[in-house]
Amino acid sequence: MTTSAASYIYRIWGQRPPFYILIPSVVAALAMVLPLFYLFLRAFQADSGELAELILRQRNLDLLFNTLKLTLGVLVLTTLMALPTAWLVTRTDISCKRLITILAVVPLAVPGYVMAYALLGLGGHYGVFAQLFGWELPRIQGYTGAVLALSLYTFPYLFLNLRATFLGFDRSLEESAQSFGYSQRAIFFKILLPHMAPALMAGWLVIGLYVMGDFGAVALMRYEAFSYAIYTQYSSAFDRIYAAWLSLMLLALAGSFVLMETLVLKRKRLASVGSGIARPKAASKLGWKALPAWVYLAVIFLSSIGLPVMILSYWLFLSPPDLRFFLEVPGTFLRSASAALPAALVAAGFALPIAYLLVRYPSRISTAIERSTYIGYALPPLTLALAMVFFALHTAYFLYQTLALLIFTWALATLALAMGPIRSSLMQTRANLEEASFSLGHGPVSTFFHVIFPRLRRGILASIAIVFLFCMKELPITFLLAPTGYTTLAVTVFSRTSEGLMAEAAPFAAAIVIFSSLSVGMVLNREGKQ
């Protein structure tokens, strides 16, 4: 018989995972909790009198109200853009469906701060519109600007979710409703919409978390949301304890958002039926309604793609900056890549054992470890970055202002992203193959290189690419953690735009857009396979 300690381990694990899988997984899970710990540590450094004053400030309520207002605005606007578009490409006879789908995903290549750049460059006395047509549009900024910039960038997430659900929807449900004599309209609201709820919720969750955590667009639009306040608190006022408290409040907000979604979704899932093998619904005839549909799509695509393309083209070709600004781009690009690539490798390196643990040794502990990777993803980036600053200052000063800290933090933020492709390719590889290899006398190392790795190669590469692309356009974490003088493409766009140097920012913004198109290409590729 085994000792009681060993049998206790078996009891929790069911099966024993080898230490070379277990140790990196546990390390990663601990690293996820680390920033939270330092955030609390810093926040509670204030004495009690100060604490009460910090927490009960009227400004906190204002920030909360502003952030909620922003999130709600973006969710409403993105739904108004994504829902009809998804319906048009899946349920109607509208032509060029493939093209519309591509166009609805392309805005992902224009990060929020580049979208803000485009919107800011449009209006006002020196705006592109005034320069080109001699007609001065009002400057788009503040609340309107922030909502527009974030919506135009994020609506593709919702579109993709909704499109997948529309495509997978079993038409027999609709057909039975039709047989009871319900109109198309009634079917949409009574049958389709309730079944869309999980997809809507999932899309809203991604967008909501992004909006709460976004810093670039909000800061450029000078809209007083939590993240902007954290940034000004940290960078100019240097009141770090208050910055920590604001971060905690933002964290609580994001956390309650996640919790709310989970609760709602749990009940929804119980109510929905198994998908089975769904037959696609015959397309509804648009007829004359095709015209307003195309007008609607034109407005969406002109603002989400046309606008940034127009503004960037203006500053690049009609009113270009000095040539030396163009020549700075390759160097900056390489500098961004020199940190993004190691981060991608680290994230994929940790994702591999965790995914393996989750797929091959399912247990409550492996699920808990996997869930913990979402902490880094769901944490508002500024909160995460600030926590890492506190960590470096308090415990690991040698890391402060180093690339290593930036790389480590990027890896924490993207571990959940890196898990996706690796986990799904691992799920497609049966455990049998590894067992066969073991029974033929091969040890774990030989089995990994001969049997597992060849099957996972594509998944691992996809993980590395996703994280790399994410880091290349990442702004808030870079902004707080990059060593002095280490400027990336994103930081350059941000700082020049905030100083009104639109022309000088243009080459860098264009580089980001072109490069991000790669990630959009990957998304489209994956969608095409579905």
Binding site: M1, R11, L433, A436, G441, H442, R455
Partner: protein
Amino acid sequence: MNSMHKVAADQQALMAVEGLSKRYQEGNDLAVEQVSFQLYTGEILALLGPSGCGKTTTLRMLAGFEHPTAGQIYLHRRDVTELPPQKRNIGIVFQDYALFPHMSLLRNVTFAMRHLPKSQQQDKAMQWLELVGLTDYAKRYPHELSGGQQQRVALARTLAAEPELVLLDEPFSNLDAALRESTRKEMRSLFKEAGTSVILVTHDQAEAMTFADKVGVMQKGRLIQMDTPQQVYQHPANAFVAKFLGHTNLLPGRALGGFAETPLGNINLHTASEGDVQLSLRPEDLELTASDNPQAARVVDREFRGHDYLYVLEQDGVQYCAITPSHNYFEVGSHVTLASARQASVLPSAGL
């Protein structure tokens, strides 16, 4: 079995399993409970049972993929319970073959030949492929092969590692019926010629009885009976084994030494017994004779199976089954008398 005998047997046994148990999760029932048996070199053992009886779990513990909750596994009297699978030298052929999809057949086979120097691997692998008749396909990839061919590659790959013992996990279940029988025959003669020791897991009683030298019947995690196919079939240890190995008639009776009084009259017993007993009588051991007596058994149903008929008969509200050669037939609704042509086996009372 006295203890002297047991020690002597242990010394010859290739594999000995003692008190093997497995519990997957605390609070769950044991998936495998106190399984003990021995396997001798060159023997083919079939573990037979319905799905969920623990036979596959047992096999996976022997291979080293599952860690037993209790019990020991000995290979050549060496305790291998704690050894990882790659150190056991036990080969396994999976139900779905588990061929490496990114390797050619030849590479799949050479992958198993770690014990040989690289220079010899190719030639030797070709010999293994020749054994299963697939040399022409050496450069092909698994997905280009039919199910039967894949299975033969899996077997060649397992044999190429030259294991002490080969485990087969439902090896014929993915083959269609026509192929199954011939593959079974080929594989059995191949194992017998090479003197390979084999443990096979199956839920198909016909497969177990035709393929194996010994059949171990499992029920709810326990090994109920292990013996030659003939013995297990004719003298099942309990009602479950009797029913699992084919159609049977379970009769209550009152034993009076060498015979018992039953609803079908007096029936001779295989082993003398006294008191209330349960008897198992195979359908082919029942003799049917046409009868005019309306009190005799009535033919309720008749199923033509080519070489024979399977009858369902009813007498005094109880149903019986009988198998007769196909030249010998009775109409549904007609009456027949039932008589036992063979000694019935007495089921131990634990099986009631």
